[in-house]
């Protein structure tokens, strides 16, 4: 009982700044963040609705090949007469799935590694950190290329490869936070009151380590979407047959100079979604005032 009261009091001191309402109020006032949120919602809807939202079937072919944008085909058609807008809408699914599942995967593994290293320290820290140092010795994208080459093409393989290749940043951030937090008075207090390691970790350390993790996660989503696009562009992507934003660009390579819309729109949507994710991530960082990370900085 006494323990709970003290804990409630300890948490109450931060309640104001940490409450969702405080967050939502600050977030709504940030114009860039709201623009980003709207863009993300639009693309998530595209991903969910897929063919339903598209004006044409994504693989339906029109007689008009390489037609510039018109009312019928707002973003033009490609070299076999498929509607570019429909393909972009359907292609949203892969980008969203890649962005979301890589970040979940990387967050889980990164949190386990980071917490294990930071909280238990000692030889555990030594082993985890050396592993991470090795990963760190590879530029992330080059590592992702290697991993896809090993695993083979396909959605799952691309997701796992990107998550593994970019995980080092995550684990480092979490370890750093845990190292810092475990020396805090409220953790010592919790320990003195006999809280178990698990309770300390999940009740005290973890919630406080969240803001930088969320910021890192937004950086990660942006990097993952760009990485998927890059891999697809190199021919190491999801599958040549699934329309993704990067594969629409890649398929159009021979027609770039004659059909500007094929070179422009698929790249533009990749840029838009990454921009939106960065806007939202920046806003979260500003609200929580996590200083040490620049936007989109990942090796």
């Amino acid at each position: 009982m006494a323990q709970d009261t003290i804990q409630a009091e300890l948490e109450g001191q931060r309640e104001n700044r940490r409450s969702f309402r405080y967050f939502a109020r600050r977030f709504r006032r940030d114009k860039r963040a709201m623009v980003g949120l709207v863009i993300i919602i639009i693309f998530v809807l595209c991903a969910l609705l897929g063919e339903w939202a598209a004006p044409y079937q994504s693989d339906a072919q029109d007689y008009e090949l390489l037609a510039p944008p018109t009312l019928g085909h707002p973003l033009g058609t490609d070299n076999v007469g498929r509607d570019v807008l429909s393909r972009i809408i359907v292609g949203a699914r892969i980008s969203m799935v890649v962005g979301l599942s890589t970040v979940i995967l990387a967050a889980i593994v990164g949190i386990v590694l980071g917490v294990a290293a930071g909280y238990y320290g000692g030889w555990m820290d030594m082993i985890v950190m050396r592993l991470i140092d090795i990963l760190w010795a590879f530029p992330n994208f080059i590592l992702a290329v290697m991993l896809v080459a090993i695993f083979g093409l396909g959605l799952t393989n691309v997701i796992v490869a990107i998550a593994l290749a970019y995980i080092d940043d995550f684990a480092r951030v979490i370890r750093g936070m845990v190292l810092m937090l475990k020396e805090e008075d409220f953790v010592t207090a919790g320990r003195a009151m006999g809280s178990s390691d698990t309770r300390l970790m999940f009740k005290h350390i973890f919630p406080n380590a969240m803001p930088p993790v969320i910021v890192q996660a937004s950086v990660f989503v942006a990097a993952a979407i760009l990485a998927e696009a890059g891999l697809t562009f190199l021919g190491l992507g999801v599958s040549p047959l699934t329309p993704t934003w990067a594969s629409i660009l890649n398929d159009a390579r021979p027609f770039f100079t004659s059909a500007w819309w094929l070179a422009t729109f698929p790249g533009l949507v990749i840029m838009l979604i990454v921009l939106a994710v960065n806007f939202v991530g920046d806003a979260i960082r500003d609200i929580n005032d996590v200083r040490e990370y620049g936007p989109g900085v990942t090796s």
């Binding site: 530029p139 080059i142 290697m146 942006a222 190199l234 200083r291 620049g294 989109g296």
Partner: protein
């Protein structure tokens, strides 16, 4: 400091060894093998035997590993499986291209990013700040290959201002070398420049709010002197950390940009050899990249201590 350096050096060697071991394991895990690729799926057994011998693949794995580490340590990287050229020659041929590309990209990023960040900070919330911030955000969000494509179409093809494909060695003259690198360097360096601009801006803002800056202004110093002599010196310290990952960003970028602009550099060599299961070439490229990378980080740490004397590496 000395002890720290020695420890760091030993760790660097360890990291390179670990990297090479991981690479060895990776290469054996890669689906497909060079033998079937070279001899065909129903190849002549005698020929297969010959290939195996030439590649040392008939030995047990641990012997292969031992020989591999030995050859890496002595820098005898062997021959490419397909082109039958020494790996060292291929790397030495590709290296200047990637280094040139990285150097020009780095210069582009620094020359655009740092001044933009400084202006953003000292004229905070001015039109310049807004424009620079917007461009930085766009630069971060643009896929490098897409920017490359746009540059090729607009500057190269429509306007016809610059050559868009290939590479000329610097011995062919400075301008042919440089002109072919401008567009690829912009495609690679823009993201890096954007990161630098953002980092410089926030670091400078932090410094500009310090008391000693106010004191400097109060003494009646001109703004230019305050900025250059007082603010920049401390403001650029965090920027140096970003420089540490510059190489990674530029190398990641080079893999894609070299593909877009048809430059036969390390990135192209790496992708081609990894797709073709050309073990010796992949191993060689990775050894080189890991070495450059690990020692670059080492160097940045030292540089960090030199710039900021408050940082003392202990232990």
């Amino acid at each position: 400091m000395q002890r720290y350096l020695i420890r760091r050096f030993i760790f660097s060697i360890f990291a390179i060894w670990a990297t090479m071991t991981v690479t060895f394991v990776f290469m054996r895990l890669l689906p497909g093998d060079p033998i079937t690729t070279m001899a065909g799926p129903e190849g002549d057994p005698a020929q297969i035997e010959l290939i195996k011998q030439r590649l040392g693949l008939e030995e047990p794995v641990w012997v292969q590993y031992f020989l591999y580490i030995k050859s890496m340590a002595t820098l005898e990287l062997g021959d490419s499986i397909y082109r039958r050229l020494p790996v060292t020659d291929q790397i030495l041929e590709a290296l200047p291209r990637t280094l040139s590309l990285s150097a020009v990209s780095f210069a582009a990023g620094v020359l655009i990013g740092i001044p933009a960040g400084i202006i953003s900070a000292i004229r905070r919330y001015s039109i310049w700040d807004h424009v620079a911030t917007l461009i930085a955000f766009l630069g971060l969000a643009m896929p490098g290959f897409w920017l490359g494509i746009l540059l090729i179409i607009v500057v190269g093809v429509q306007l016809g201002w610059l050559p868009v494909f290939g590479y000329s060695p610097i011995s062919d003259g400075l301008w042919p070398w440089f002109s072919k690198l401008i567009l690829p360097a912009l495609a690679t360096g823009t993201g890096f420049g954007a990161i630098l601009a953002r980092q410089t801006r926030s670091a400078m803002l932090e410094v500009l709010s310090q008391d000693y800056i106010r004191t400097a202004y109060a003494k009646g110093m001109r703004e230019r002197v305050v900025i250059i002599r007082h603010a920049l010196r401390n403001g650029l310290i965090p920027v140096v950390t970003v420089m540490g990952i510059a190489l990674a960003i530029l190398l990641n970028g080079a893999v894609i940009t070299e593909n877009v602009f048809a430059i036969r550099g390390l990135g192209r060599l790496f992708i081609e050899s990894i797709l073709g299961r050309d073990y010796p070439v992949v191993q060689g490229v990775i050894l080189l990249v890991a070495c450059i990378f690990i020692f670059m980080n080492f160097f940045v740490d030292i540089l960090y201590a030199v710039i900021n004397p408050r940082i003392r590496y202990t232990d």
